[in-house]
């Protein structure tokens, strides 16, 4: 692994990404979403005795940033190397898959963290809560980072990344709706959404020890997607042998 090469790849990606229309639309949507969540957070409606709330402050913003921004940007900028037929050239330039993954991930995480920071400022988080919130967000961000990379591995172009990505986003936000409403579904505890919401609640209350317990399930999900990604990489390596 060559740190100099990773730095050069990051520099090039920054020069390129500012002209990338798809990424810019995603970023603009994310900023719009921060404002929308801020407004919609105050509203909900009742069906019989159940209260339905779609968005819940930072946990919902984190869900949007992870599923929409991280997964899409990571998937898109990785698959573009294949779509633009530049991957082969990079391989000839001794760039390894790990170096490329780290360079792309650094860009994606930088954008995601920036958006979360803006959202936390909008939601008037204190400095300590911002730090705690960003650290608590990392497993979720990594989970979708691996998912985005996995999407890029299975896709030939950015259209396929969008095609395969949409079902994941829809399922994630369905779960988000269930978590934020007072429907009593135990199964929801298996998914990271529930834990993220609970964790942020405890962070805001300053109960750090309890909040840290809710990071375990998101970490397990991140590990699961990392293992799936690793499996796919191993399969690709064997195919190329």
């Amino acid at each position: 692994m060559d740190v100099r090469r990773i730095r050069i790849l990051i520099q090039r990606e920054f020069q390129d990404i500012i002209w990338n229309g798809q990424v810019m639309i995603v970023l603009f949507s994310a900023l719009l979403m921060v404002g929308t969540v801020y407004i919609l957070n105050q509203f909900g409606f009742n069906v019989d005795e159940y209260e339905i709330v779609f968005f819940n402050a930072i946990p919902s913003v984190l869900g949007f940033v992870s599923a929409f921004v991280v997964m899409y940007i990571q998937g898109n900028i990785l698959v573009e190397e294949r779509e633009h037929r530049t991957l082969k050239v990079l391989q000839l330039y001794k760039v390894s898959r790990a170096e490329l993954f780290l360079a792309k991930s650094a860009i994606t995480l930088f954008i995601a963290m920036g958006l979360l920071l803006v959202a936390m400022i909008v939601f008037r988080y204190e400095f300590l809560h911002v730090v705690g919130g960003l650290l608590f967000s990392l497993p979720m961000l990594f989970m979708f980072l691996f998912l985005g990379t996995l999407l890029a591995e299975y896709s030939k172009n950015t259209i396929e990344v969008s095609l395969y990505g949409w079902p994941i986003i829809i399922v994630y936000f369905m779960l988000e709706g269930i978590v934020n409403s007072n429907l009593n579904v135990n199964l929801i505890k298996v998914f990271p959404n529930f834990h993220v919401t609970q964790g942020f609640d405890y962070i805001l209350r300053g109960e750090w020890a309890t909040a840290s317990l809710y990071i375990i399930i998101p970490i397990l999900w991140a590990v699961l997607f990392y293992l799936l990604l690793k499996k796919k990489w191993n399969a690709s390596d064997q195919q190329n042998m």
């Binding site: 100099r4 090469r5 050069i8 520099q11 090039r12 020069q15 390129d16 002209w19 990338n20 633009h84 037929r85 530049t86 082969k88 050239v89 990079l90 391989q91 000839l92 330039y93 001794k94 760039v95 042998m241």
Partner: protein, 339 residues
Amino acid sequence: MALTLKGSGKIIGNKELLPPIDLTVQDHDVAAIQADIEHMDAFLSLFEQDKSYLANEIMYDGNAVAGQKELFIYSPDMGEYPRLTPEKMVRFWGQLYNVDFDTSKILTLTELTHVRTKKIKLLTYYEQKRLQFARSLIQKTSIYIFKEPTYQLDLQSKKVFNHVLEEIKKMHGVVILLTSSLEEGIRLGSKVYRLNDRGMQEVELDEEIIEQEEVKDEIPNDEELFQQRFEKISAKTEDKFILFDPLEIDYIETRERQTVLHVNNEEFYSTVTMKDLETKLLPYGFYRCHRSYLVNLQRVREVIVWSKNSYSLTLDNRNEQVVPLSKSKYGELKALLNW
């Protein structure tokens, strides 16, 4: 110093994709290999697969080549970042390889100075290809492999590629050109090979002069020529012979020991040998421009001078076909056509 391939071949399942190849390319040499796309890909895959290196099948200067990272490979299916400019792209390649070079010089050599700050996606197809050629001037290595570098290129870009080849030849290293066009192979290569199911055979180029003398001995004098009552050239198709008027023929080529007539962008196999055809067609204005080519001079529109050692003839037909012109024949043709 030389690149050596020893007995390298490729078999998948029961199918032999590439017969065993023994090839030696000397330093500063350009080995042009004419092949169909399947053999080209199979040959290139020898350099792209780790097992070729593990089996020590590829040697340079007596040492085993460690892997494809030690080579430069150009293939038409390689791309660039469309939102970057040629200037940024060249700098990026330079930074990746950690080499210092003059960006302006490289852009001038590849004739991209006028578009240096234009986004790559806005460049023409030819400009994008020239940008890819620039890559070969940045990556300093010993083995350069180009797959179909001049396929569907315009004249300007072909000339740029010639300049790039000259620059590479100034440095030490060997160049392998894979091309589907024998004409391009002859034009660009210092040695030309044909690669097919039977293996790799060298196309003899240096025997032109000897061959020319032999042919001269066999050509009857002018009187005898005009005594011949020859009017048609025959070509055999499935169940019939087609008789062509000599002036219908654009050019004639020898390919794998067969004589191929090119008429209106179609190919017909003739049973008559090249030598016999040359004798018969001389009075009709045909000229042996190369050992393997006999061209109808009435069809010649342009004589392209690629370098002091490389010439081609462009024909005045729908596809503007290009026929190689031997170095030794250039002066003779110039005198003959009186230009």
